[in-house]
Amino acid sequence: MTPLALLLTVSSLLFTCGLFAVLTRRNAILILVGLELMLNAANINFIAFWRYGPPDPDLTGPLLVLFSIAIAAAEAAVGLAIILMVFRHTRSTDLNRLNSLHG
């Protein structure tokens, strides 16, 4: 197994894990955990192709990872702020309870 294939496998399994969390969890914060895992899996792909792919003098992969990390942080911050607001409204972070528009 080449290093590239190994990293890609890890990344796809991580992505699967994250997807599983997003699909099965009910707590909104834990769904965010799954989202972070998925983003992370994508980042691994970028780095793997930069490191074990053809030479990349423009550093496209690492640059994309940098932006992706920044956006992931922003996403987490906004997501958690929204969850906190929802929690203040309904006293719960269970997404199944958010079934009415008229809070």
Binding site: C17, L19, F20, E36, I44, L59, I69, L84
Partner: protein, 174 residues
């Protein structure tokens, strides 16, 4: 094969931590395991030569995102553990049913990825100067966009997190 050894050690650990994050019934444990998975990923980056990315990943994910998640878990007092355990089997079945096709497709694609590593250099390092120059020349619009995004996020988070019913804090009288 020697450069493969750290990867072979780290990869299963990352996957185990991620599985824990996904499947642990206690939300705080799940969040801590997420932090572990992200930290191990940072270690993975460090071992394959992307030092800068690894450290940034560690700083942002472990120091900020994981801590933020953990903190909001504390504030929101997550629900009943027993309830979560009770609905697990069904959730597992339906979740796997959805996820397995995705995993199959992904792994199939990976197994058909051509070996590109013939053209790769033995141990490339991340040249910081190039990275910085690229960020402020070719990628300057993107950097600006991210800056605007982060500012918007900060303002938005402050607005969201503000308690609407609360009066503005009065100066503390003694």
């Amino acid at each position: 094969m020697i450069p493969l050894i750290p990867l072979l050690i780290l990869s299963p650990l990352i996957l185990l931590a991620a599985l824990g994050a996904v499947w642990n019934a206690r939300p705080v444990h799940a969040a801590l395991l997420l932090a572990l998975a992200l930290a191990l990923t940072a270690g993975l980056y460090l071992t394959i030569g992307a030092d800068f990315i690894g450290l940034v990943q560690f700083m942002v994910y472990v120091g900020a995102v994981a801590v933020l998640i953990v903190f909001s878990l504390l504030i929101t007092r997550p629900g009943d553990e027993a309830e979560e355990l009770a609905r697990r089997p069904g959730a597992a079945v339906s979740g796997l049913a959805c996820v397995l096709p995705v995993a199959t497709v992904l792994l199939y694609a990976v197994s058909h990825t051509p070996d590109l590593s013939s053209g790769a250099s033995e141990s490339p390092t991340l040249p910081l100067q190039t990275l910085g120059k690229a960020l402020f020349t070719d990628y300057a619009p993107a950097v600006l966009a991210v800056g605007v995004l982060l500012t918007a996020v900060m303002v938005g988070a402050v607005l969201f997190a503000r308690d609407p019913d609360k009066k503005p804090p009065t100066p503390p009288g003694p």
